[in-house]
């Protein structure tokens, strides 16, 4: 019964989304205020309906209703309650339901926190978000229904993939989706502005906190995913440049570019078209990500749905949202006025340069990810993997790191490079001194690691320097920016150290044997079998000594889940600020209880994720800047609604008519 209710709610949600996508737009073009006013209530209703459907599925998992095919495939009676709930998004159908639920939540939030926008504007924005919701709801209902029944009813479910039975996978998808889906808000704003042809700074100012928030969620989602892959997969990597990972990285890169361009276009009537294009691009990449993940056109280490029909559907959505957006842009581009009013040596130029660098980075990831497809079209095969991306990223990010402090220090509108370079001279000297000290402490360092250390310290010193000189006048937005830049500093440092100075050793260890690497002594005490919750484990015991003192005991496991045939490696990690010690168990190699063992020592790996977290915090802090609120109250709705009362031309930028 509950499954039918869920199904019914989804159907109603689809209808609501249809109304939301049409009625306010009609209201806008026919100048019917009452129709425009329906946008908010419809947005709330949409959320309630979708959330109701989502809760139905959660409950079906809690009570283990195996008559529902999706529940049967992804759960069984042995599964602990917490994993039964996360199993809701453990596979394709449920994860898409989570996706539309979060989408509906964003729509409701936009409806709630948009008091400063006039009805015609919020009506348009919500209508565009209605289109987005409609497409993905249709995708769920018509191709990926999680409420499908099964007959005859099985007595026992299959199982949730053991990899998903983990805290990381409980929280990673919702956060990541919040980021992906949140990027539909700047898209909707850009499209709404294009529809009306009234792209002004109010739109962009209003778009900024939403962009920041979505970007922050995406950042956290990626960090969580990377951290999860690191501890869960057992082979010590934290980023594989796999298509599915790239799918989340591309929107992140493009959104980073967008955030920086918005800073320019909010205050100058310049590069607004660029802002609009980036807004469209960012959301398109998020839809493209869905396509890559769910269509199976690329081979990924994350096995995903290889379903051409679903792929075609998502591609159609991509074509509609992006193609429609770009068509609208083509029709309206001449209405977007561009008057830079700033000089070449100004903060604006550097912010735009930043957006260019990040756009090129996005393009590189896109190119590398899809290049095998180009080869495929010619009947050839090629692999583009970590060596390519690693090299290209290093080269592309060098100018970014060098120029970042310049952009922070530069004045708006007009400045002189000479002044700023003079300002940057003391930090430059300090950076060099500090790098020499670090090099002396951590010697030997390979050249690439040294370059990264130099870059990291350069960003750190400059950001602290900037915070110091600005203290007292720091707004939340400015502080958020500095925080995010500090995050970049830690990230650059952490990545360089982990990637270029890590230690890895595969070896055979018999019980009682010891091995010493990098000042750590590892003593293997053997492997024993044990039964835990819903799996069997072979658990090794390693004592780790430093200077003859026991610092930790690690228990890597090899797990066997009875319902699955595949065994799993569960690494044991001793995390630390300066280094992680990471041990994985291979297999038993002899009758004396000897096992193959892999030991990693990963220096400063936590700094990398710490950097990501700082970036996220910075983004969120900037999103809550008072400025957005101040403007919100200042521009009273009354004034903004004059448009409706006056019955003016819906397109305000009439000054640039074709004549």
């Amino acid at each position: 019964m509950l499954a039918e209710i869920g199904q019914f709610l989804l159907g109603l949600a689809l209808l609501t989304a249809l109304c939301l996508s049409i009625i306010p737009l009609l209201g806008y073009f026919l100048k019917r205020k009452d129709w425009l006013l329906l946008a908010r209530p419809l947005a709330y209703l949409l959320f309630i309906l979708v959330f109701g459907a989502f809760l139905s599925l959660v409950w079906l998992f809690v009570v283990q209703d195996f008559s529902v095919a999706y529940v049967w495939r992804n759960s069984n009676t042995l599964l602990p309650l917490r994993y039964r709930i996360s199993a809701v998004w453990g596979a394709h159908e449920g994860s898409m339901l989570l996706w539309v639920t979060i989408q509906a939540l964003w729509v409701a939030l936009v409806a709630r926190f948009s008091q400063s926008l006039s009805h015609d504007r919020i009506g348009r924005v919500l209508a565009v978000l209605g289109w987005v919701s409609l497409g993905f709801l249709a995708f769920v209902v018509f191709t990926s229904n999680p409420f499908e029944r099964l007959f005859p009813i099985p007595a026992e479910g299959v199982d949730l993939n053991p990899l998903l039975q983990d805290i990381g996978l409980i929280i990673h998808p919702p956060i990541l989706y919040a980021g992906y889906v949140g990027l539909s808000v700047p898209y909707a704003i850009a499209i709404a502005a294009l529809l009306g042809g009234d792209l002004d700074e109010k739109w962009i100012r209003w778009s900024r906190p939403w962009t920041n928030a979505a970007w922050a969620f995406l950042t956290l989602g990626i960090v969580l995913g990377s951290w999860w892959a690191y501890y869960e997969l057992g082979w010590g990597g934290w980023w594989f440049w796999d298509p599915v990972e790239n799918a989340s990285f591309m929107p992140w890169l493009a959104a980073t570019a967008l955030i920086h361009v918005q800073a320019v276009s909010e205050r100058r009537n310049a590069f607004r078209g660029w802002t609009v294009l980036l807004s469209i691009l960012v959301f398109s990449l998020s839809v493209l990500g869905t396509f890559l993940v769910r269509s199976g056109i690329l081979t990924s280490v994350h096995a995903f749905a290889s379903d051409p029909e679903r792929g075609t559907f998502v591609l159609a959505l991509l074509g509609f949202y992006t193609g429609g957006g770009l068509l609208l842009y083509a029709l309206r581009a001449h209405r977007i006025r561009s008057e830079p009013g700033f000089e070449l040596s100004s903060r604006e130029t550097l912010l735009l340069a930043n957006s260019l660098i990040f756009l090129v980075a996005t393009l590189t990831v896109l190119l590398g990810t899809l290049f095998p497809l180009v080869f495929d079209a010619f009947g050839k095969k090629i692999s583009v993997g970590p060596p390519y991306f690693g090299l290209m990223f290093f080269l592309i990010m060098v100018p970014m790191v060098v120029l970042l402090p310049l952009g922070v220090m530069m004045r708006w509108h007009r400045d002189s490079f000479r002044r700023v370079i003079r300002l940057l001279l003391p930090p430059f000297v300090l950076t060099t001194v500090l790098t020499v000290i670090v090099w002396w402490l951590l010697n030997p360092l390979p050249l690439k690691a040294l370059a990264g250390v130099y870059g990291g310290i350069w960003l750190l010193v400059n950001t602290l320097f900037a915070i110091f000189t600005e203290k007292g006048t720091l707004t939340r937005a400015r502080l958020g920016m500095h925080l995010a830049h500090l995050g970049v500093a830690f990230f650059v440092f952490g990545v360089s150290m982990t990637e270029h100075t890590d230690f890895e050793k595969d070896l055979l260890m018999n019980p009682g044997e010891s091995a010493t690497f990098k000042g750590y002594t590892f003593t293997f005490e053997g492997v024993r079998r044990k039964r835990v919750e819903n799996y069997l484990a072979e658990e090794g015991t390693f004592k780790v000594y430093q200077d003859n003192q026991l610092i930790t005991i690690l228990h890597p496991q090899k797990r066997e889940y009875p319902r699955q045939q595949k065994p799993m490696t569960e690494a044991a990690i001793d995390p630390g600020v300066m280094r992680d010690i990471y041990i994985s168990l291979g297999e038993q190699l002899n009758d004396q209880g000897g096992w193959s063992v892999r030991i990693y020592i990963k220096p400063f790996i936590r700094w990398m994720w710490g950097g990501g977290l700082l970036m996220m915090l910075g983004g969120l802090l900037a999103a809550t800047d008072r400025r957005y609120k101040r403007h919100a109250t200042a521009e009273s709705r009354h004034l903004a609604d004059q448009w409706l009362e006056n019955n003016a031309q819906p397109i305000s930028a009439g000054t640039t008519s074709k004549a």
Binding site: A270, E339, R414, T475, R478, D506
Partner: protein
Amino acid sequence: MKTQLRKKPAARPFFQYPRKWLLAALLFSQTLLAIDVYQFDTPQQEALYRHLTEELRCLVCQNQNIADSDADLAKDLRQEVAQFVKQGKTQEEIIDYLVQRYGDFVRYSPPVRIDTIVLWTLPFAVLLFGGWGLIRTIKANNQTNAAAIAKTHSQPTSADSPTEPDS
């Protein structure tokens, strides 16, 4: 089309197309870590072995290098690579050997060739061209605007200061 390989010692396929229950968003097909223990004469050889196994792609896996893969073929290839390394073959020789048999697909580092020129140069071309375009646009607009601003004084930009709150 199905292809399967033997799993030692028991004859059980390790490589199969995703079954229905595997149609998930974020599942790893290969979850078992493979660890081989090879003895090398020098640390350089060991480093070369590690480097090569990380850059060579396991053909039957979803998207994994042969260093991490538990697949039988990956194991064979690791053994082959280890032998070559011990025989003192160079990185190029070993990669060429495998590319001759399995094609470019086997290496994660795409070759620099005429048909991959776009892959290696397009990002830099866009960076250079974009930078040039950016500078040109700003300069051009600045010149046309300078006159307009002087006439109308419509831009309040002169009040801006470096401590102006913004990000």
